[in-house]
């Protein structure tokens, strides 16, 4: 029917059919028939067109489309993940895997930076002592650094009256919360609630609350409880410290707590102890668990070995010092053989007075100081007995001259700070000194007296009379 109706409907009214031209009345009749027959179809077409336009409009609206598809998509994904898990993982890995890898890498980098900072900071004796203690307790330096990189801190401590829930004291690292009393009371309410709802006995109380990265650790005594807001992993023994603190506070303030009437002055004395809990705590500084028998044995052995090493080091050092100290080598035979006879010949020494000190010995006389000899031989012999050697030490590095004057040529030697010397003669501000250099033997020369320190007065016998600076 539609074929027969479509053909005349598509033809202009003026045209004729194959059967021949139609009379106007017939055409009119056909039109009417067509209208009657196609009226319903025409209405359907209009409705369909309208619906199609509306649908097209919605399809052009991305937001509407997303909302329409989302539930189906979610369900489709859920089914797909359930039925083809491996396939989905493979498809999503490039996205999710990369994100996870990036996050983990960033976390590891942060940790490495933190460990590096710790290692740079730990060079003081206290840190070395900590490391030693940690090692003795079986914690290697890597683990120690890792532990230090994961800090633990206590930011707030509440001391709360058990029965009333009233806040007795509150300490905080930063500015204290103005509503700490309300927080303390609500904490007590929550504690009461959990105890009533989940506690299976009178001794079962809430002892920890996790809030994101932070936790509230609770330790109770008979009349009060402490709630510490902490961040990080608490070191071994921190809970014991908290427990000891609350017990100490309860015991020390037992009368005040029994008669507590809500006064704000009560338990002032508890605050210092609470403040000690606020400081950051390191894992190694915290009380350590008891050492095992093997660890105790190892620690004892280590201690004995350390003592033996110390003793050996001391002995060796002592031997080296004795072997190298100049005093024995300076034994220039300060004999008591007084020389009553005048020196027969002019000495080459700048002064004639000290001649008695070295004579008559097997050791060769000091090198002649030809550059600045005294102009005349000593006319008066030294009649006094030979004095003992005057020893001293250099108070600074000094150039050695060939004579008792700045104008005298330098020998090219330098007497070093701390070098023990023997003062052989003094002329004005200058001293003739003699010293031993390991590997080079005995040296002699003139240095300014200001650089030589002695414990005893320089005897007149070795001072050249009349020699003024």
């Amino acid at each position: 029917m539609s074929g027969t109706s479509a053909t005349p409907d598509a033809m202009p009214d003026s045209e004729t059919t194959q059967e021949g031209p139609c009379a106007p009345d017939e055409l009119r009749a056909l039109d009417e028939l067509r209208m009657i027959l196609l009226a319903r179809d025409r209405a359907s077409v209009v409705e369909l067109k309208s619906a199609l336009d509306a649908l097209q409009g919605r399809l052009d609206d991305d937001e509407w489309l997303a909302r329409a598809v989302a539930p189906i998509l979610s369900e489709a994904l859920r089914l797909k993940i359930r039925d083809a898990r491996d396939e989905m993982i493979e498809a999503l890995y490039p996205i999710i895997g990369q994100t996870v890898v990036r996050a983990v890498a960033e976390a590891v980098r942060d940790l490495a930076r933190s460990v590096d900072a710790q290692m740079r900071a730990t060079i003081g004796p206290r840190q070395l002592w900590r490391r030693l203690r940690a090692r003795v307790r079986g914690v290697d330096s890597g683990a120690l650094a890792l532990r230090d990189a994961l800090p633990f801190s206590v930011s707030q401590v509440f001391l709360i009256h058990q029965e009333t829930g009233l806040l007795l004291r509150h300490v905080a690292l930063g500015a204290a919360d103005a509503d700490s009393d309300l927080i303390g009371a609500m904490l007590t309410a929550i504690r009461d609630f959990t105890s009533d709802a989940f506690g299976r006995g009178s001794q079962e109380d809430l002892d920890e609350i996790q809030v994101g990265d932070r936790r509230i650790l609770i330790e109770a005594a008979q009349t009060v409880y402490l709630a510490a807001v902490v961040e990080g992993v608490e070191p071994v023994g921190f809970r014991a410290t908290l427990r000891e603190a609350v017990i100490a506070i309860a015991q020390a303030n037992a009368p005040a707590l029994r008669a507590y009437d809500g006064g704000s002055a009560a338990l002032d004395a508890a605050e210092p102890l609470m403040r000690t809990l606020l400081a950051s705590v390191s894992g190694v500084d915290a009380p350590a668990p008891r050492l095992s028998r093997g660890q105790q044995w190892a620690a004892g052995t280590l201690l004995v070995a350390a003592l033996v090493c110390c003793a050996a080091t001391y002995g060796a050092g002592r031997l080296i010092w004795v072997a190298t100290r100049p005093t024995p080598a300076m034994a220039l035979t300060p004999t008591a053989t007084a020389s009553a006879t005048p020196t027969a010949i002019p000495t080459a020494a700048p002064t004639t007075a000290p001649t008695a000190t070295l004579a008559p010995t097997d050791t060769p006389p000091p090198a002649p100081q030809t550059s600045a000899p005294t102009s005349a031989p000593t006319s008066a012999p030294t009649s006094a007995p030979t004095a003992g050697p005057v020893t001293g030490a250099m108070t600074g590095n000094a150039f050695v001259h060939e004579g008792p004057s700045l104008t005298a040529p330098r020998t090219g030697l330098i007497v070093r700070l701390g070098q023990p010397v023997e003062i052989r003669a003094v002329s004005g501000d200058w001293a003739q000194v003699r010293w031993i250099v390991i590997g080079e033997g005995e040296q002699t020369g003139w240095v300014q007296l200001a650089w030589v320190a002695t414990l005893h007065m320089v005897p007149d016998a070795i001072i050249t009379p009349g020699a003024e600076p």
Binding site: Q162, A189, G263, S264, A265
Partner: protein
Amino acid sequence: MTISKKVCLLGDFAVGKTSLVRRFVYDRFDDRYISTIGVKVSRKSLVVPRPGGPIDLVLMLWDLAGSEEFSTMRASYLRGAAGAILVCDVTRPETVEALIAYREQIEAASAGTAVVIAANKIDRLPPGARCARADAIAEALGAPLVYTSARDSVGVEALFRELGARVSG
């Protein structure tokens, strides 16, 4: 000098306990706590005259849920209370009768607690009208009765002052 006291608000469901608290005290926590754990704590500060001079009194108000499901928790929450406000709705006689039971609960959990009764919602009574049954129960319990309207802010300050004077004495 500052003194803090724990005070509990007790009364049947919808008698207006939370309304009394909400309008006249400092709130930090949401009212949803009452329906979740059965209690919410608020604070009301007063200056109370005393023979040695006025003191700052801080009332820590524990607003307890009136519904039955928290009745087992109530004993814990009442422990250590220095005072209590028993609230009833003057338009609902059963809430007035329930005051006796609440007084017993208080006495069992915390003997010697100072009690004040709040006959709430008097804005729904004709002006000057009183609730005879509430008067009788208050007299029987030996507790002062204060007529209040949280909606019109009537008697609420007087209620807290009456309790403040009793718990600080």
